[in-house]
């Protein structure tokens, strides 16, 4: 089966080259025959890649340990389900998985556009399959999952048919960790589609907003999956890694955040191009930047370039990827420069206080945030290039920059939608912001007198309140007017309003989600922690709770040994939860893990880990964190998913005629 897999990859690589070249020629000479061949090629590529994935999965399920990848990531005792998902646990398998996703998306895009966008499609195929060429080359030459497992025996690398494998990293044997990579990959790979259409637009000179409209849903789906992937990663880190937090500005985390930042800027900025034909160069740069950062992120995660610069250079992946990115940057800048005339704005900014300017400042803040995160992540490499010494920066540096930027963006979330196109009159500003502003000042003073003194927390809660007020007012105002005109009750009116304007109101719901998540983040300003020793039968108090230790003990099964502490949590004399923090030792991989115990309410999380035991073994040493408002982050994530689904749904169109109260010209049809 491994040889079959090898054959498939060897066949795949020239096929991708052929398809890319054919697509390029089809774009140049407009020949139908070339275009058809390129399309067939795209489908064929998908078929072959799917077969390769199936071959690899067969090897995993069969437990063929003569294969290096199967050996390194599975073992006999591993449950079947984990054998399947181990595909993306290891380097080679996950890269093949990446390739499978991009070939699937390519085939889907070709199928979606089989009867339209004839002019753009050849170059779309060229770009998507061009990227596929690169990844297929990696799959074949550098990270081949069908390689034989070899060991150094007497100085010679010899194939070994091992009896059992090394098993799956126990940290990965967790539901959140299983779905996290596929979700993130769909987000990453999804960025290729808008990018491909952008490149096609540049090459053909069709630089109106058609390429944007065609890829609107792809861009939103990609953004949605990236958002969920990042939040899921945070949730996993919080629940599994045991240090009490969900974000550490780690290079791997930053790698997923970077394309998200530019993607968020992009989905907003394109609205300006659709309405006013402005910010064309911004949009081109943002969509290209998102793609490049997604590719960059894939490799940052997989090659450990920043945590060890030397490993990056040695692995072979590093130079290949660097070359690809440099090539892509040069080509993209060249194309933008070549088409700079067609990319000039059709209209101009009239006022600082207009919706156009709001979007422009939105872009600016997101791009500055991206540059800051990129700078901080790569600083060891940059500083070494200039001073010969590697200098790192940590969470305090990132937070110093990102908190103010985040709050500014949050403020813009509330202010932006109420600004008018071109110019907003003072009158309008007063009407829109008067009440919410006064109410927010009241809330701010209230919090201050309540005892909250942390400046950033005060700012964050105040702005959150301000934005929430505005968004809710938007819903109510629109619903009130509609309920009057359409004779519906206020709730039905709100529902109908949302369904007939999914872009606008779905977007508002996503903004609500962002505010909720931000408030969750702000809770961290009030985190407290303590370290306690306790034995069976003992108890202690912390943060208004009483902790009773029922038992400190241990147990064993086939897979691992557990050292646990059984606790009962009481508040105001009433039991609220059972907690069982523990440490596990997995036999196969000899790897220890921490099992965190969390009691979660809307107000706070009580988060317990065991950190050791006393010398006589009688007392367990526990670290307990009180983390306020963490649940809001996860709640906000759910709201975000709902909002994203809404934005993707087409507007609900009523079949009957609209009431006379609304002015509609019979001739004019609004394109969705």
């Amino acid at each position: 089966m491994s040889e079959f897999g090898h054959i498939l990859l060897t066949f795949l690589f020239p096929l991708t080259l052929f398809t890319a070249v054919t697509a390029f020629l089809a774009g140049r000479n407009h020949r139908e025959s070339m275009y058809q061949a390129a399309r067939n090629g795209t489908y064929a590529i998908w078929i072959v890649t799917t077969l390769a994935i199936l071959a690899l999965e067969a090897l995993m399920l069969q437990g063929d340990f003569s294969n290096a990848f199967v050996y390194g990531n599975t073992n006999r005792a591993l449950p079947g389900f984990y054998k399947i998902v181990a595909l993306w646990a290891g380097h080679d398998g996950s890269l093949l998985f990446w390739t499978w996703i991009i070939t699937s998306f390519s085939a889907l895009v070709v199928y979606q556009n089989r009867n339209k966008n004839r002019e753009l499609m050849p170059y779309v195929i060229l770009t998507m399959i061009g990227t596929t060429v690169f990844f297929t080359a990696l799959n074949l030459f550098i990270a081949n999952p069908f390689d034989t497992w070899m060991q150094n025996i007497n100085g010679v690398m010899t194939p070994v048919a091992a009896a059992d494998g090394r098993g799956l990293n126990p940290l990965l044997q967790h539901p959140a960790m299983i779905i996290h990579p596929p979700i993130l990959y769909i987000g990453y790979v999804g960025t290729v589609v808008p990018f491909a259409f952008a490149i096609a637009a540049l090459l053909t000179g069709r630089l109106g907003s058609s390429w944007i409209k065609i890829t609107r849903r792809w861009a939103l789906v990609s953004w949605g999956f990236l958002s969920v992937g990042i939040l899921l990663g945070g949730k996993w880190a919080y629940v599994e890694l045991g240090w009490g937090g969900y974000w550490a500005w780690d290079p791997v985390e930053n790698a997923s955040l970077l394309p998200w930042l530019t993607s968020t800027a992009y989905v907003h900025s394109v609205m300006i191009q659709e309405r006013k034909g402005m910010l064309k160069v911004w949009n081109m740069s943002l969509v290209i930047g998102t793609y490049l950062l997604a590719i960059f992120g894939t490799f940052l995660t997989r090659s450990g370039i920043v945590s060890s610069v030397h490993a990056f250079a040695e692995s072979g992946i590093g130079p290949a990827f660097a070359a690809f990115i440099v090539f892509a940057i040069i080509t993209s800048i060249g194309l933008i420069f070549w088409r700079r005339k067609e990319l000039s704005s059709e209209e101009h900014f009239e006022s600082l206080v207009s919706r156009e300017s709001g979007f422009m400042f939105n872009n600016l803040l997101f791009v500055l945030a991206t540059i800051a995160v990129l700078w901080g992540t790569l600083f060891p490499v940059i500083s070494e290039a200039f001073t010969g010494e590697q200098i790192t920066v940590g969470p305090p540096w990132f937070n110093t920059i990102m908190i103010p930027i985040g709050l500014a963006l949050l403020l813009l979330t509330g202010v932006g939608p109420l600004l008018a196109w071109r110019r907003t009159s003072i009158e309008s500003l007063r009407k829109s912001f008067g009440y919410p502003f006064i109410a927010s000042v009241v809330v701010l003073l209230g919090m201050f007198f309540f005892g909250i003194r942390d400046g950033w927390a005060l700012g964050s809660f105040t702005i959150s309140f301000f934005v929430l007020w505005i968004i809710v007012a938007e819903f109510l105002q629109g619903a009130r007017i509609r309920s009057k005109n359409a004779q519906e009750n206020i709730l039905t009116a709100m529902a109908m309003l949302t369904m007939k304007n999914t872009r606008r109101y779905g977007g508002y719901i996503i903004h609500i989600a962002v505010v909720v998540i931000f408030m969750g983040f702000t809770g961290a300003a009030f985190n407290t922690e303590t370290r306690q020793e306790v034995a069976t039968g003992g108890s202690f108090n912390f943060a208004g709770y009483t902790f009773m230790c029922i038992e400190k003990g241990h147990s064993t099964n086939d897979n691992f040994r557990t050292d646990f502490v059984d606790l009962q949590l009481f508040k105001d004399g009433r039991k609220v939860d059972d907690l069982r923090p523990a440490k596990r030792m997995y036999f196969a991989s000899k790897q220890p893990t921490t099992e965190v115990a969390i009691y979660s309410t809307l107000r706070e999380d009580i988060y317990v880990v065991t950190v050791g035991e006393s010398e006589d073994g009688k007392m367990a040493i526990l670290q307990i964190y009180r983390n306020p408002l963490v649940m809001w982050v996860w709640l906000g994530s759910l709201i975000l998913i709902v909002g994203t689904i809404l934005v993707l749904i087409p507007n609900y169109r009523e079949k009957k005629r609209k009431p006379a109260a609304q002015q509609t010209h019979a001739r004019h049809e609004v394109h969705a």
Binding site: Y35, W421, E427, H671
Partner: protein, 142 residues
């Protein structure tokens, strides 16, 4: 397994390159101007809708609303007019194509050296002209 793989592989290759052997040779015609104008039309309509929404929510005074609405409507009129003109131009090209298909008439004998008249502005151009020297409109390769 291997025999199956080889047969399947060859089958796939054959399917992929088969379009290259079909003698369609059809050169895809590119209609670009209409798409740009459709773009602009859709944009103006969305702007009008946005404006009506803002006004309905009381964010705009009656006067501002009317002024801006008139400006947008004028823009829309211009774009739609240009679109109709373009569609008429396509009709002219279609008619010319049909005439050609009808075959040689008496004029064919002298057609080789006959001047071309521009469809848009009517200006007389030399027989071999690719562009109208008065208005710059491209002569269709029919």
């Amino acid at each position: 397994m291997t025999t199956f793989a080889i047969i399947f592989g060859f089958g796939l290759i054959a399917w992929v390159i088969s379009p290259l052997f079909k003698k369609s040779g059809q050169v895809f015609e590119v209609h670009s101007q209409a798409a740009d104008l459709e773009d602009m039309k859709s944009r103006v309509y969305h702007n009008i809708k946005d404006l009506e929404f803002d006004y309905a929510l009381g964010r705009l005074s009656e006067q501002d609303f009317q002024t801006i609405r008139i400006a947008f409507t004028q823009e829309a009129t211009q774009v739609v007019a240009r679109l109709e003109q373009l569609q008429k131009h396509d009709l002219d090209a279609l008619i010319a194509q049909d005439l050609k298909k009808m075959g040689d008439g008496p004029a064919a004998a002298v057609a080789a050296g006959a001047p071309k008249f521009c469809m848009d502005c009517g200006h007389k151009n030399p027989a071999k002209a690719k562009f109208c020297s008065a208005c710059g409109e491209k002569f269709e390769e029919i």
